[in-house]
Symmetry: D2
């Protein structure tokens, strides 16, 4: 799986996000590999209605459908067409108990929960909460173009082993600094089930071409 | 102005929010009074595209168009069709400096900023930051059905006077516990320019009928 | 081990805290059981200098000795005579990565880290970060007088098993609602190494008498 | 007034903080100028008992004397001998309503509240809440050695004018980058009642000599 986090990048807003989602859809159709996007909240419905890609929220709040002005309600994210949500991204860190609550709330409304973690030990901690997916991303490499799979292969392996110890079968992605098809290939060889990436694709000259190469690296 | 905050109420999600927005639109058309809605982020575009009412975000994050995974980017909210945003709602309180940043960022992207405040003194503090609107809501009355305009008329007057002292001409709304047209009438008589309300309308049996009565109370 | 969290209770400030610490010291001397206190930050040195009990901070910030105005620096807590710190109390919840940082920083300055957890799964998550101690406290029982050891014995057992699976040998305390020596006896019988308590002792008529009974229940 | 914020600097912990407080005491005795310190919480009592200088907390939490594990209770800070507290330092920013609560709670327990602000407008906002003192510090100059009084004299004047408009007579300090007696002299000439400083003194080779010069610049 390749999940493209559009963050708050200007290239990923509105039509820009729609175009990136279409690039992902095309690359997916040509390769059979699962490619998804995590756009701004306001763009979830736009993309989910027009493009056949799995759409993730970048975050949901672990609140109930009640007051909570300003919160991102899991139900509303699901209603808009998302299939999952990031949880605890390093740019949106959550309290431990809130991660647990997010995973439960996501499950309740049938959203896939993908918990982001910043070290092998923290990956094991997240695994204890039984999310649907984990994405290990050393925060110091995020946005650098220095790929986690190449710069920290042993850390990825550690994360995989620790997660396996606590929750065998729980799929682990990796992320941070991933910009080439080769980075993806190495990530899969290490045992991950895919990658979480952002600027590498969002700010690429030819996002479609790059996604296609990355998807081919998965087959 | 009557602004309906849909919060995370189940009645206000997706089609529910769309219906409430249409109720507001109809009441507005019949009376000429400005009625708006503040839906979940994911519903902003849906409503803004299909209904002719001013749409407000319930919150924006004072961040730039860059990384910031999980943040609500002012640009994306504007792109989705919103005309404004709540800032510092009592269920989404912000640091003082962040309120200032939100007001500036909102202005930059042409969103009207409506700062919520919880006491007359805090209303004056907010006025010093020159938002476009202030809504004074005593938090202890929110959701109670006991209206601020009737239970705390002197506090509303204090808020108005203090805001006027610092920023003459800055329009002030009031909110909390407003459930009837009479509450709205009293609020206007006190000198406010309108009301911010939520459950009173969202959970009403006949939201359209109530909004119409409230709008008529404004004329 | 019996650790008395003085929280912000008025009975535990200054001289009050000193007296409670002396009660713990006396009960410890008579029974050989380890009794400690977690007072307000400003009282750590006062108690550590005058009373022979282990003193814990109620929290430390995972920051370095640099700017960080307003933070509770682990080094300063150690310098004042504390031997340990609570981490992630349910009234002071921390981000997952911050818990990890607190444990590391505490270790660095030779403070014992006691991570508080609110469910069996969250206890296992905490165990993955290898703190020195875990205290499992269902938040809904805190301050109720309904003891976790009696009301939720199976949850305590679950927590113990899950922690053991990830970190064999890591001592687990339990807390919430503990007010009698019998509660302590049951907690130990379940396999915990002690209890974390607060109002039950701090607001007791005869804290010394109660602590003595509780300590005897440990022998 | 000259207030030295010891932050989390290693030079200001324990004995280090005590020594700096004694330096301030000596400089105060020789000049008649009021010099104070804001140490780590754990050092408040140590310094207040042994040195005749006004001691400020770096922060207090706006909570009541009840549960609230990990909070800094205003009552306990007062009990330890502090005379005041910083509120909303740029390294410990608070929600607008929390600033209001801190000011009230501080007043209740007879602590002087000194609210830190980061722009002229935010200074006026803070003034609306009627604290005892305001310290205007442009965050981008903090710790730089480039003094606010010299680099931004017009911003200091703006802050003074805006505060005066809302709360005539409310004393304003300034801070950020202040490292020399000349910086202090300029700050006073602009109309401030003193300075808030930190690294400039804490990390000086001869803190006493520098404080003495600065105090003399006030006379």
């Amino acid at each position: 799986m390749i999940l493209v986090n559009l963050k708050c990048y200007p290239e990923g807003i509105g039509r820009g996000g729609l175009k990136l989602a279409r690039d992902a859809e095309r690359a997916s159709r040509e390769t059979g590999v699962c490619l998804g996007v995590a756009p701004q909240y306001v763009d979830i419905r736009l993309i989910a209605e027009q493009v056949r890609v799995p759409v993730f929220a970048q975050h949901v709040d672990p609140v109930l459908a009640d007051k909570n002005t300003g919160a991102v309600l899991p139900e509303s994210v699901y209603d808009a067409g998302a299939v999952g949500t990031l949880v605890n991204h390093s740019e949106r860190r959550l309290e431990l108990a809130a991660i647990d609550e997010c995973i439960r709330r996501a499950r309740q409304v049938r959203l896939t929960s993908l918990v982001c973690t910043s070290s092998p030990e923290i990956s094991q901690a997240a695994a204890a909460l039984r999310p649907d997916l984990i994405a290990y991303e050393p925060p110091e490499l995020i946005g650098t173009g220095v790929s986690v799979s190449k710069a920290r292969p042993e850390a990825v392996t550690d994360a995989l082993n620790l997660v396996r110890e606590t929750a065998p079968g729980l799929p682990v992605l990796c992320g941070a600094g991933i910009t080439t098809a080769e980075d993806v290939r190495v990530a899969l060889k290490l045992g991950t089930k895919g990658v979480l990436l952002a600027s590498g694709v969002v700010k690429a000259k030819d996002p479609y071409g790059l996604l296609l190469e990355m998807a081919r690296a998965c087959t």
